[in-house]
């Protein structure tokens, strides 16, 4: 099995522009920034949520709280072969009670990650509302979960993989569609 790059979905500049738009949409559809907080899903949701918060601060002057959630303990596919995945800490320094939360992730696929993230958030308190913001929606849902804020919707086959590269984690910055070929 080889992995080949099929095409680039977003350039660095397009990622930046998409995030600008998403930040504006989040504030607009929330009727302001009251109670608003962003929760990045580890790993790539974390830098994305930081960037969204920075954009919101740039245009509104308001600093909205940002946290990071690790979903490892809430996965529904814990391995029965091989070692367990490494657990990381949540970094949420504010109470989620009565907050208007927006979960931020890079790619929405089966919806299972978001289900796990919501379970994790419920252990921390009772948010007023939870919505979802993703950079890429690639379809193939296995849960009744949809995003409120979507950067780009992409048609994919289930052998394809959407790879999001962010400079904070990967060094480069782009979104590519790759395929597994036998």
């Amino acid at each position: 099995m080889r992995v080949v790059e099929k095409r680039q979905l977003l350039s660095a500049e397009e990622i930046s522009r998409t995030l600008q738009r998403l930040a504006h949409e989040i504030v607009e559809k929330s009727g302001g920034t009251k109670d608003l907080a962003l929760i990045g899903v580890r790993r790539r949701g974390a830098p994305l949520s930081e960037r969204l918060a920075k954009t919101v601060k740039d245009f509104s002057g308001v600093e909205i709280p940002v946290g990071t959630i690790d979903i490892t303990l809430y996965r529904d596919d814990l391995s029965t072969v091989g070692p367990q995945p490494v657990v990381h800490s949540n970094e949420i320094s504010f109470s989620v009670d009565d907050r208007d939360l927006v979960i931020v992730d890079d790619v929405l696929y089966t919806g299972r990650t978001i289900r796990a993230a919501m379970n994790g958030l419920f252990d921390l308190g009772r948010p007023k509302r939870i919505r979802l913001c993703v950079l890429i929606d690639r379809g193939h849902r296995e849960m009744p979960i949809e995003a409120t804020f979507i950067g780009n919707s992409v048609q994919t086959s289930d052998t394809e993989i959407v790879e999001v590269h962010l400079k904070e984690i990967d060094g480069d910055e782009r979104v590519v569609l790759v395929d597994r070929v036998p």
């Binding site: 809430y74 391995s79 070692p83 490494v86 657990v87 990381h88 252990d123 921390l124 308190g125």
Partner: protein, 317 residues
């Protein structure tokens, strides 16, 4: 990178990297103890057998709570209630437990090496919760986590262990663990509890009989529980032990400023430790308890949650 752990039988055979990995993995579980809702479903459907062939309250409750917070069920076996009194062998007892298909067995036993004996014969992950005078690995791990949190690192400190080192599995596990991180270890207590062999356990271990000398330059002090049944005339009366070895506020002054005081519990105030020290700002005893939960949750998550261990061939008995 990390050699996968199948069991936790002791500290001696672990590498520094394996120890650091366990301590790092305890971090998210430390944070978890502050959650309003302390219940995960991570190990839902898994069963952890708690086989305590020796009395224990705090260690058993800690493991039971760790398992419960991960969503696992527990089966409890306590020596008093079991068939042990009827003469059943250790192997028969644990095989009976195994036949109920637990996903892990936590075992405490008064014989050194019992957990290893069981691990060699069953196909279930085994966690040593204290065996004879051999090891108490989860205690050493939670002590290390406490020291690392308070002092920022493990490397390079001076550690003093006070009390009945000879009979202490806590001391042995701590010596093995901390010496791997370059900690200089001073053992201090009555000569009858400090045989020369203790110095051969690990590098950088020395024995001192005067507490004033042992506390000089200490960064971390572990006061061990002294069992009153071991204090009797003519060898050593309790009064003499208190006079010569009790950790008092005055003696604590001899250590480095801000030196940490740890105690594995149960603590006997007025015997090995003065109440003012136990409740003072340098005392870490309650953090040790909370950290114990985090360490045990991390271990159960990795040992019980992972792949099934292939049972060894049945011929070995």
């Amino acid at each position: 990178m990390l050699q996968r752990l199948e069991h936790l039988l002791g500290i001696e055979d672990l590498t520094r990297e394996q120890i650091s990995f366990i301590l790092d993995q305890a971090k998210p579980f430390q944070e978890f103890q502050r959650h309003p809702l302390k219940k995960l479903a991570t190990l839902r459907g898994k069963t952890v057998a708690l086989a305590f062939f020796e009395n224990s309250t705090r260690t058993r409750i800690s493991f039971a709570t760790a398992a419960a917070r991960l969503g696992a069920d527990t089966m409890n076996l306590q020596a008093e209630a079991s068939s042990l009194k009827k003469g059943e062998s250790l192997l028969d007892t644990v095989r009976t437990l195994e036949a109920m298909r637990p996903d892990g067995i936590v075992i405490r036993h008064s014989s050194s090496g019992a957990p290893e004996f069981v691990a060699d014969r069953l196909g279930v992950p085994i966690v040593n919760a204290g065996d004879g005078t051999h090891e108490h690995p989860t205690q050493a791990l939670l002590d290390a986590l406490t020291i690392r949190d308070r002092k920022g690192k493990l490397e390079g400190w001076n550690l003093t262990i006070l009390g009945d080192v000879l009979h202490s599995r806590v001391a042995r596990s701590n010596i093995h663990l901390l010496s791997k991180f370059g900690v200089r270890i001073t053992l201090c207590g009555p000569a009858m509890w400090m045989p020369r062999e203790l110095e051969t356990l690990a590098p950088n271990v020395r024995r001192v009989t005067r507490i004033e000398e042992a506390l000089d330059s200490a960064d971390v002090i572990i006061a061990l529980r002294v069992q009153t049944e071991r204090l009797h005339e003519p060898a050593l009366a309790a009064e003499e032990y208190i006079l010569r070895y009790q950790l008092t506020p005055q003696r604590l002054q001899l250590a480095r400023p801000g030196a940490l005081v740890l105690h594995p519990g149960p603590m006997i105030r007025g015997l090995e430790i003065d109440g003012a020290v136990a409740d003072g700002p340098q005392s870490c005893v309650l953090e040790q308890v909370t950290n114990g939960l985090a360490i045990r949750m991390a271990l159960l998550y990795h040992l019980v949650g992972g792949a099934a261990v292939e049972p060894p061939p049945p011929s070995k008995t």
